[in-house]
């Protein structure tokens, strides 16, 4: 708690405006805590776009390759069976399964990566016992140190946007 300053707000707009103002003043925003995904807060906090989409594409490519390769291997190489005179490697007929497996790999792989990012522990536990952001409170956590201005000016901004400082 000594390392952080915590401000509490009643709605997303005050939080968003305060976060922008605090960040513009040169403070480091450690994190914000909100009951729902606030639209536009990522820009206010300066978060980089998530790389999950690229991860998803990687897993999708893997799924497609595995599915096509496996179907080819099993129906054309390992034990070819003549079914209605179709070619051993009937790629068009392999497409539905290839598609489903692609989706399966992409979905599960992305979810797995999401959990892996925090080693299956989505978030660090609370900074403070009264700090519960799953109901109706919005919090901003500011890292102390390295900033040019005194912490009092951050507290001022919090007050300016109808927020209050959470006492340790």
């Amino acid at each position: 708690m000594e390392k952080y300053l915590v401000g509490e707000f009643d709605n997303e707009y005050d939080l968003k405006d305060a976060v922008s103002a605090i960040r513009n003043d040169g403070f480091i925003i450690e994190d914000a805590y909100t009951p729902y995904g606030v639209h536009g807060l990522d820009n206010a906090m300066g978060l980089k776009p998530s790389r999950l989409a690229k991860v998803c594409f990687g897993f999708a490519t893997l799924g497609l390759t595995v599915a096509l390769w496996l179907q080819y291997l099993l129906s054309a190489v390992d034990w070819p069976i003549n079914i209605g005179g179709r070619p051993w490697n009937s790629v068009p007929a392999f497409m539905p399964i290839a598609f489903e497996v692609t989706i399966l790999f992409a979905g599960l792989g992305t979810v797995f990566s999401f959990f892996l990012w925090r080693k299956f522990k989505i978030a660090k536990r609370n900074y403070h016992p009264s700090f519960i952001a799953t109901d109706n409170k919005f919090f901003v956590v500011i890292y102390k140190g390295e900033q040019r201005k005194p912490m009092s000016s951050a507290i001022e901004i919090i007050h300016q946007f109808h927020g209050k400082k959470v006492e340790a």
């Binding site: 729902y36 099993l74 497996v101 978030a123």
Partner: protein, 454 residues
């Protein structure tokens, strides 16, 4: 905060709720002792389920000879039920994924329970092909795993093998999507739970969620990706189901219009089922301010559109049968409309063509009781659509000497009733033990008319 209110738009949620009100209203449903109506519902559905279990056990012990199938009609009740339940599932994914991608904010109050409905419907659907195998304990043979029979692999060119992959992928991805969507709400339930046991269970389910925005940021990316994956998936699933018929050489099945026809029909029947369930749920749980009359009206509009596509498909089928000049094809369609199963055909046409037309009237769209009755008719009509497609195409085939008829036995009817029992049991347990409205998502649309409305 400035109070800009757009007076043209209705609010998404009625009753001028605060953030805490949403938490309390939704969580209270889980805390309260269930009403009498819930107990009546669960007893009825458990009895139906029991009947189904008895019927299926008898069928497995005796063999599928206890069904009314014969060598001409080799597929009937069982596959009808399978296609019916898979179709029901489609509305859930449409609401949760496609409406999400289209930024339709009204989905927030209904998406959670619609997704739950999807999963339960797919579970019900999955039972039918498995019991149709006759020896369900060998059901895993449908999967390509290294075995001591050669290894002899599954036939990847067969639509039935495609089905295995499509349905299981659909079940896994929908369940994942559902769970991911519930994590923030599990945390809300955990944080306000007084009961230690509940805190512990929801603590595990919420994997340490505490509302950190850095996590929200990734979470929203993940949610968008899953929605993007579920959208083509849902279209592919019913397409593959329609391939079971369309890739065969049976007149009445062998048509290229089947995939879009089946997908539209699935969404049509699914929305009818969502509406029936939501109307019951909002009434019995007192959630009228969350699942508002506007939600009901929006869903009926989807029914008009998909009902229109279904109507067009019926007309197209007849036109193509005539235009193809193929005698067998023409016979099948005339036989459908005028033959021994014409009663089923006209029930289907009556329910699926006429019912949605009532929804053109705003007065009817906003009359909850009428909407409920009409959606039941849509459900009946869509069940008969699958029955008509499957049985009428088979029962009079190429050789008149092989012509036959079909009527379901008691075992088959009991199995159908049992699947409804399973579906409603799961749904009633879900609305009792899980947050049935997406708390976090509803909170984000409370300011829909103010600065939140985009």
């Amino acid at each position: 905060m400035d109070n800009v209110v757009n007076s043209i738009r209705d609010p998404q949620i009625f009753g001028n709720k605060s953030l805490t009100d949403v938490t309390e209203d939704v969580c209270n449903v889980m805390d309260r002792k269930p009403k009498k109506l819930w107990w009546i519902g669960i007893i009825l559905s458990l009895s139906a389920l029991l009947l189904g279990i008895v019927a299926v056990s008898y069928q497995i012990a005796t063999g599928i000879g206890v069904w009314g199938l014969n060598k001409t009609v080799g597929w009937a009740f069982d596959i009808t039920n399978f296609v019916f339940w898979v179709g029901i599932g489609h509305a859930g994914t449409l609401i949760s994924a496609i409406l999400f991608l289209f930024r339709q904010k009204w989905r927030t109050s209904i998406n959670r329970s619609a997704e739950a409905m999807t999963i339960f419907a797919v579970i019900c659907a999955g039972i039918f092909p498995i019991i149709h195998m006759g020896r369900p304990w060998f059901g895993f043979w449908a999967l390509p795993y290294p075995n001591f029979r050669g290894p002899l692999w599954v036939n990847f060119r067969s639509p039935l093998a495609w089905d295995v992959f499509a349905i299981s992928t659909y079940l896994i991805i929908s369940a994942t999507f559902w769970y991911i969507g519930m994590i923030p709400d599990f945390a809300t339930v955990r944080d306000r739970a007084k009961n230690k046991m509940k805190k512990f269970i929801f603590g595990i389910l919420s994997v340490g969620w505490n509302g950190s925005f850095k996590v929200w940021h990734r979470y929203e990316a993940l949610y968008g990706i899953l929605a993007g994956l579920a959208t083509p998936l849902v279209v592919s699933v019913h397409t593959v189901v329609s391939f079971d018929f369309a890739t065969s050489a049976i007149p009445g099945w062998h048509t290229t219009t089947f995939p879009p026809y089946f997908v539209a029909g699935a969404v049509f029947s699914g929305f009818a089922m969502v509406l029936s369930l939501m109307i019951i749920a909002r009434k019995t749980l007192g959630l009228e301010e969350y699942i508002t009359i506007n939600h009901i009206e929006n869903m009926t509009k989807v029914i008009i559109v998909t009902g229109g596509i279904v109507t067009l498909s019926y007309a197209t089928e007849f036109f193509i049968a005539w235009y193809s000049g193929n005698g067998y094809e023409q016979f099948v369609f005339l036989n459908r409309a005028l033959g021994p199963f014409s009663w089923a055909y006209w029930i289907m046409v009556g329910c699926n063509l006429i019912t949605p037309q009532f929804f053109w009237f705003r007065k009817i769209r906003r009359n909850v009781l009428l909407v409920f009755i009409l959606t039941i008719f849509v459900n009946i009509g869509m069940w008969f659509e699958r029955f008509v497609i499957i049985v009428t195409s088979l029962h009079r085939d190429f050789l008149p000497s092989a012509w036959s008829t079909y009527s379901p036995t008691l075992v088959e009817i009991s199995t159908l009733i049992g699947s409804f029992g399973l579906f409603f049991t799961l749904f009633l347990l879900f609305i009792k033990f899980f947050p049935m409205i997406a708390i976090g998502e509803v909170k984000s649309v409370l300011n829909y008319r103010g600065r939140g409305g985009k």
